[in-house]
């Protein structure tokens, strides 16, 4: 929870689509002024969690704590911008929808165009923007009214590395301005920059805490090797291999690895797979 005590999130949240369980017993909290990352593979439940937080999906169970809709900013997994409106028109529509006055809108749009590097493209149709620019526009639209809770569903997926860095700079600036930011991502290097991480798998919470807490809680030992170790679960990291030794022993030809969030998440998913297989 932030120093002023404001936090948003959900408690024992369940979401169903007909007979399909998308989320079950998921609890999550994000404090004002911080960034929380939601990670997980396809079908893990990231979008359902974010939609439930934003209010576009009705929870089947549990409670959601979110600010008034005028204090909420949301970037959906889709384009989230109106392709046949210009950059300026998109920002104006969004700002007016959230009740900004003409003067305030002009001031904030000017600032946002400068910070996002979209000033040159302000008269261009959103549909003609590159993927990175379009995502920056969607983010600018979501923060123009300075929301208390900013929700972003995979804003950097399919975006070039430079634009990814810029997007993270923008959402970090929103958090620095006091917003609670929730961002779903499939990139674990991004999640490491967040204050807290929630790892979802098959609609359930797999890991939760700060990135350091999540890494520290990894059971057994993760080892590093030049070649693929036999007999234990392993995965590639760059040109080398990592493997998980559940009992903490060091297999021949390997050495202890410096653990990061990606290793921790892979180990957690391996354990979960073993549990489901059992």
């Amino acid at each position: 929870m932030s120093p002023d005590g404001t936090s948003w999130g959900c408690r024992r949240l369940g979401v169903r689509y007909g007979a399909t369980v998308a989320l079950e017993e998921v609890s999550f909290e994000v404090a004002a002024g911080t960034v929380a990352a939601v990670v997980g593979g396809d079908g893990a439940g990231k979008t359902s969690l974010l939609r439930a937080l934003a209010g576009t999906v009705r929870p089947a169970a549990g409670t959601v704590r979110r600010p008034d809709e005028r204090r909420l900013g949301y970037v959906s997994a889709g384009p989230g911008v109106w392709a046949d409106l210009t950059v300026d028109e998109n920002l104006s529509f969004s700002g007016r929808a959230y009740g900004l006055s003409a003067g305030e809108l002009q001031r904030r749009v000017g600032g946002l165009l400068d910070r996002t590097g979209l000033a040159e493209a302000r008269d261009r149709l959103a549909g003609r923007l590159s993927g990175g620019m379009r995502q920056k526009l969607a983010l600018a639209m979501a923060v123009a009214h300075e929301p208390d809770l900013l929700i972003l569903d995979e804003p950097t997926t399919g975006v070039d590395p430079v634009s990814r860095a810029e997007l993270w700079r923008l959402l970090a600036a929103s958090a620095a301005g006091g917003a609670a930011v929730v961002v779903a991502t499939t990139y674990l290097d991004e999640a490491e920059r967040a204050a807290t991480v929630l790892v979802l798998d098959r609609g359930r919470s797999l890991l939760a805490g700060t990135p350091d807490e999540v890494v520290a809680a990894t059971p057994g030992l993760v080892v590093d090797a030049a070649a693929r170790p036999d007999g234990i679960p392993s995965w590639r990291r760059g040109s080398r291999w990592r493997a998980w030794s559940p009992d903490g022993s060091i297999p021949p030809g390997t050495g202890p690895a410096t653990l990061d969030l990606e290793d921790a998440v892979i180990v957690a998913q391996l354990r979960e797979d073993q549990r489901w297989a059992a």
């Binding site: 939609r51 209010g55 576009t56 704590r65 969004s94």
Partner: protein
């Protein structure tokens, strides 16, 4: 080639709407052309007025189905009966001589049948065709075609406009914005309604100026009926959008709602010539009532009171269809709803009550 055909079959099997259209459309067309596609009117509703009404009514040809005999009424009442669509033929009898036969030219196929039949009969006068003396097809088609244009703009354009938001993912963006569902819908529909109104004005002007279609009635009554009809067509468009994921699906469904309206509304084939079962389907379609209203106002100059049935039916259909569409659209747009115990204020209230209970 075989692999391509198999792929196509698999895709076709999964595209159930297209498959349904491919199967249902021929069946629908067969039924329509079997039971409805007829220009031959066997019975024409007739009123007979004047001192010798009883005597003349008994001697009329079978095709003239006498629905009212009024010896105490005169020509004025007969003209009003035609104007108000109470009958298609009025026979005005006097104390002696030949009776006058008045025919409603706005009911084109009935009028043509009557004129042809009476012309060949000795002892009966040449009928006098009112409202559309030249029995011009354009005079009755143009008012009906206005309805088709309104269906096109109201249903197809609206459905496509709303589905475009869904298909591009921006509907979800609208759902989180601080709009009420009805504001989104009203804001979304207003431009389409505006375009439809401009369209309507252009068609009326072209019809009157280019095709010499008469405009004998009240523009206000016409405008009221057109607005009611627009609400129905726009409501159908919104309903279609709520069950369509793509613009292609929306167009398919829109065509499936448009075809029966064009074929069974009396726009092309007279309702009186249809088999009763098919005719009753026609009575459930909004275009049927708009066609009656438009022809009534423009061609016959019918007053408001004479058009209460089409105006009332359009109002009922508009209320039902538009109400349904708003309910479905609201469900799509705000599934979490407001005040379902999921917003901060509601949870804080719940927590406060729980704490009070614990004490």
């Amino acid at each position: 080639m075989w692999a391509m055909a198999m792929k196509e079959f698999r895709q076709m099997r999964r595209d159930r709407r297209t498959l349904a259209m491919m199967i249902l459309l021929p069946v629908l067309l067969l039924v329509v052309f079997g039971y409805a596609a007829s220009f031959d009117v066997d019975r024409v509703e007739t009123v007979v007025v004047g001192p010798r009404a009883e005597q003349v009514a008994a001697a009329l040809p079978d095709r003239l189905d006498v629905v009212r005999v009024a010896p105490g009424e005169g020509r004025q009442a007969a003209v009003e009966a035609l104007r108000d669509a109470d009958a298609t033929v009025a026979v005005v009898t006097g104390d002696g001589g030949q009776p006058q036969v008045l025919v409603d030219g706005a009911d084109l196929f009935s009028a043509r049948a009557v004129v042809t039949e009476l012309r060949g009969r000795p002892g009966l006068p040449t009928p006098e065709v009112l409202f559309n003396p030249g029995l011009e097809t354009s005079a009755i088609m143009v008012p009906g075609l206005m309805g088709v244009v309104l269906v096109f703009v109201g249903t197809i354009a609206t459905a496509l406009g709303v589905v475009r938001e869904r298909q591009s993912g921006t509907l979800e963006q609208l759902a989180v914005m601080p709009f009420r569902a009805r504001d989104v819908l009203a804001g979304k529909l207003l431009p389409y309604l505006g375009v439809a109104v401009v369209d309507l004005a252009v068609i009326v002007a072209v019809g009157v100026l280019l095709f010499d279609v008469p405009f004998n009635g009240s523009p206000l009554v016409f405008a009221l009926g057109a607005v009611e009809f627009l609400f129905v067509t726009v409501g159908i468009g919104v309903l279609i959008s709520t069950v369509s994921e793509t613009q292609g699906q929306a167009i398919q469904l829109a065509i499936m709602t448009m075809l029966p309206q064009i074929l069974l509304s009396g726009l092309i084939f007279p309702l009186q010539a249809m088999a009763p079962g098919v005719r009753w389907i026609g009575y459930l379609l909004p275009l049927t009532w708009f066609v009656q209203l438009a022809r009534g106002v423009m061609v016959r100059g019918a007053p408001f009171e004479a058009l209460l049935l089409p105006l009332g039916m359009l109002a009922v259909l508009g209320t039902v269809v538009f109400g349904l569409s708003i309910a479905r659209f609201r469900r799509d747009l705000a599934p979490a709803g407001r005040g379902h115990g999921v917003d901060a204020a509601a949870i804080q209230d719940q927590e406060a009550r729980a704490r009070a209970g614990a004490r």
